[in-house]
Symmetry: C2
């Protein structure tokens, strides 16, 4: 199932690409079903908080009518930034599956660790998928930009 | 002006209190004018991301029609959590004025430092106001809860 869900997150990332947005996608899964899906829309929405993870969390909260996403898993193509990692903690998402690491602002251990920090009041399980396609999508996007 | 703006953020925090929400308020200031204001609405909205800072940032982005809040300052009654500190970085807010520190999840140095971390790609100026009323509001709220 892991392969299927990260593939669905990749489909979301490709929607960002069509909008000339940094291609990152996320899905939230509960009981083996996708309950929310989103892609980065920062430029389109002109909203600094409109990363895929935040948008997916907001959608899942509406669907479940609860700010607590306990028992939900998130699949995201790129390692979350501090804002998104913080939002994942706030929402109590149980497990996080990450396509590829982000050496620039990754907040799940690459640059800083918000998700698994014993000094904070919550902690989320991280599963690294080392998915090449998630990385290639970003590399190609930034190569085209230069 | 600092005293005036943190007082306005406190007014927002008191609105949270009326809704039985953890009392935290924030205002965003540009050219000495408040352009956005918000208070914590997590329970009311059942949205894990509905902290005062995130809501104020989203509002300011709409007002300015830009995800970049460069040249804007935020006044917030309580030290931001990792999610909100990350959102402040993402929005490129120039200066952050904080009422009181949060020894529980403060991400501006108390528990973790997201706002001023040389390994991340952005950095925001922090001004601590050590405002007693900001702290008392929270202490009284949690005292009543116990």
């Amino acid at each position: 199932m892991k392969e299927y869900f990260i593939h669905e997150a990749l489909k979301e990332a490709k929607r960002s690409l069509l909008l000339n947005e940094v291609p990152v996608g996320a899905v939230i899964v509960k009981d083996n079903k996708i309950i929310a899906r989103a892609h980065n829309l920062r430029e389109t929405m002109q909203d600094a908080t409109a990363h895929a993870e935040v948008l997916a969390i907001k959608e899942a909260c509406v669907i479940l009518n609860s700010w607590r996403l306990t028992g939900c898993d998130m699949y995201v193509t790129l390692e979350p930034c501090p804002m998104c990692a913080g939002a994942i903690l706030q929402s109590r998402i149980s497990k996080l599956y990450i396509g590829i690491f982000d050496p620039s602002v990754g907040a799940c251990g690459s640059v800083i660790n918000v998700i698994q920090n014993d000094d904070l009041n919550h902690w989320t399980e991280i599963n690294w998928l080392y998915n090449e396609e998630c990385g290639n999508l970003l590399t190609d996007f930034f190569k085209d930009k230069r």
